[in-house]
């Protein structure tokens, strides 16, 4: 079943910095780090790719059985939901039309990992979070560019 999620803004922000996605939840004061596979999945979720499309992207990039990829993705999403980093939205059936080109040489698959930190909680919770809307937030959902591989360009390479 295809499911779609988006970043739980405005309290959650994430940014891809030098190959590592750093995420903070200003509502809980926790911050997070994810790299490699987790980074890719976060960036795909941020551009509102559904799970079916994400699985196709993973299969195109990594050498692993489909059930392994699906289980790893589900576990990672469960973790993101548990920390209130993402929320579920309505699936976008148009994503079935998006073509995903397989990498010439697929890589060994490493399950996504999410590191959780609580040591700056008191500092992050100080943020007043007043009347914030999504305008200006780095992780506000980007508009999907036109073209079959458009969304993937965000994390190409």
């Amino acid at each position: 079943m295809d499911r779609q999620f988006h970043i739980n803004s405005p309290s959650v922000m994430g940014e891809d910095i030098d190959g590592e996605v750093v995420i903070m939840n200003l509502a809980t004061g926790h911050y997070f780090s994810t790299q490699e596979t987790g980074r890719l999945i976060w960036l795909w979720i941020a551009q509102r790719d559904g799970t079916a499309l994400i699985l196709r992207r993973l299969a195109a990039r990594f050498e692993a059985p489909a059930d392994v990829l699906a289980a790893a993705l589900e576990a990672f999403i469960t973790r993101l939901l548990a920390f209130q980093l993402i929320v579920e939205g309505a699936p976008d059936s148009a994503q079935a039309e998006i073509a995903v080109v397989a990498a010439p040489e697929r890589l060994a698959f490493a399950p996504p990992e999410l590191a959780v930190y609580t040591d700056m909680q008191d500092m992050l919770l100080l943020d007043p979070m007043d009347d914030v809307d999504e305008v200006g937030w780095p992780s506000a959902a980007p508009r999907r560019p036109a073209g079959p591989e458009g969304p993937n360009r965000m994390v190409a390479g």
């Binding site: 922000m13 994430g14 940014e15 910095i17 030098d18 590592e20 750093v22 995420i23 903070m24 200003l26 509502a27 911050y31 780090s33 040591d119 700056m120 008191d122 500092m123 992050l124 919770l125 100080l126 943020d127 007043p128 979070m129 007043d130 009347d131 914030v132 305008v135 200006g136 937030w137 780095p138």
Partner: protein
């Protein structure tokens, strides 16, 4: 620089209070009154004006010689704090923002911890939030009334801490205190925590975090720097 005699006639610590200030005339008198009203008075109060264009200088003048007023062209709160620490004569430094207050026993209680244990580098405590009239309908709605906090405004710090971990980030980005506290946490220096309110924080429409809400992404860069630093330290 001549050595200072402290409020106890020379025995014990000399405490400098640093208040960086930018166009905070509306709240400055209440802030200063809370500092001068401490039941253990500070030995030096340094108002570091960061290019204010309001009535800050006139207000400072009303406090006479007991307030040390220094003005610099606007450089941001980190640069203002750094300049003030360099000027401060105390061996213990307390920080307060010009829109916030100290409960009357804040300095005494934190100083007692520092003086009782030479291994403690800094003392913090609880913050109590209070809403200004300008907070707006929803201002600070997510903040708990009282919370534990290690932010600079709640800390009383030995001057030597700056020799060990360095200065505040002077780039004027959001979260310069955040960066400094993270470095303090990573330094291994002991920070004691009091279970009492040491800082009363005014929530209003001009809190830096509120004004710069579209710059909160800078927090993420500070966190990234912190993670990289810790990985490097771990080898």
């Amino acid at each position: 620089m001549a050595p200072m005699v402290n409020a106890a006639g020379g025995r014990g610590s000399v405490v400098s209070v640093i208040i960086p200030c930018f166009n905070a005339a509306a709240t400055l008198p209440e802030c200063l009154d809370s500092v001068f009203g401490q039941d253990r008075p500070p030995d030096e109060v340094l108002l570091m004006d960061d290019g204010s264009t309001d009535e800050t200088a006139a207000i400072a003048q009303r406090y006479g010689a007991r307030l040390r007023f220094v003005s610099q062209p606007r450089q941001g709160p980190g640069a203002a704090r750094n300049a003030a620490v360099r000027l401060a004569r105390g061996d213990v430094i307390g920080f307060l923002d010009a829109d916030d207050l100290w409960p009357s026993d804040s300095l005494r209680c934190r100083l007692a911890v520092l003086e009782a244990d030479p291994d403690v580098a800094a003392v913090t405590g609880l913050v109590e939030h209070f809403r200004a009239e300008t907070a707006g309908r929803q201002g600070g709605r997510r903040l708990p009334p009282v919370q534990k906090v290690r932010i600079v405004c709640a800390m009383l710090v030995r001057r030597t801490v700056f020799d060990r971990i360095g200065w505040f980030d002077a780039s004027d980005r959001l979260g310069e205190q955040f960066d400094w506290v993270a470095r303090l946490a990573d330094s291994g220096l002991r920070v004691a925590e009091l279970d009492q309110i040491v800082w009363r924080r005014r929530v209003h429409d001009r809190n830096i975090g509120t004004r710069l809400r579209d710059q909160r992404g800078e927090y993420l860069h500070i966190l990234k720097e912190m993670l990289d630093r810790r990985r490097a330290l771990a080898g």
